[in-house]
Symmetry: C2
Subunit: 86 residues, 2 copies
DNA sequence: CATAAATATTCCCGTTCGGTAATATTCTGA
DNA sequence: TCAGAATATTACCGAACGGGAATATTTATG
């Protein structure tokens, strides 16, 4: 893939991870949070959500509000994309 | 981009659209639904959600449950992806 | 243009989200 | 191993989601 990106001059090509459920998102969020060396409480403060929300998000609770999830993802430097199945 | 995909033999490369809010998703859903020649009511039935939900989704209501949004997207042949901001 | 079809909005209602605080449980590092 | 830190869960409560039906509004059609 490195050769490919060099050939095309696309050194900064984004890598998309397909998401099938909220559990997967929760895992990504937790991993990133730990990488940043933060507790859930600190992360909640950063994202301006409650500690409870952060805990439930990381544990993959399915029925959370889309806008709040987006808020956390954005604060953590993630972006969401939509594509069509091939 | 066409030349690029041919060079790499990646004719089936997914194209990701970055999403910043639920409004954008709603627009995509509506566009797809119309393309499929369905009314909101029919689409709601297909996705097993209420007509009200479909209407609100298409109009970009922010506080909807993630799992239900995902359900509709999946029924419409969309996939969700996460990437990191560069 | 009139009317039917489609969509948006309101109503009623049961359920649940999520903030905050408290408490129970689990994890971590010395 | 154990104490403290971190996380998960529970309790209380107000706000609001969403199903289904009804109604208002908008759009499409002949």
């Amino acid at each position: 893939m490195d050769t490919k990106t060099l050939i095309l001059g696309q050194k900064n090509k984004k890598t998309w991870i397909e998401i099938h459920n909220l559990k997967a998102i929760g895992q990504m969020v937790r991993k990133k949070r730990k990488k940043m060396g933060m507790t859930q409480a600190e992360a909640a403060g950063l994202c301006n959500v409650g500690a409870r929300f952060m805990s439930e998000l990381e544990n993959g609770k399915a029925t959370m509000h889309f806008d709040k999830i987006m808020k956390v993802l954005r604060s953590f430097g993630f972006i969401i994309g939509i594509s069509e199945r091939l």
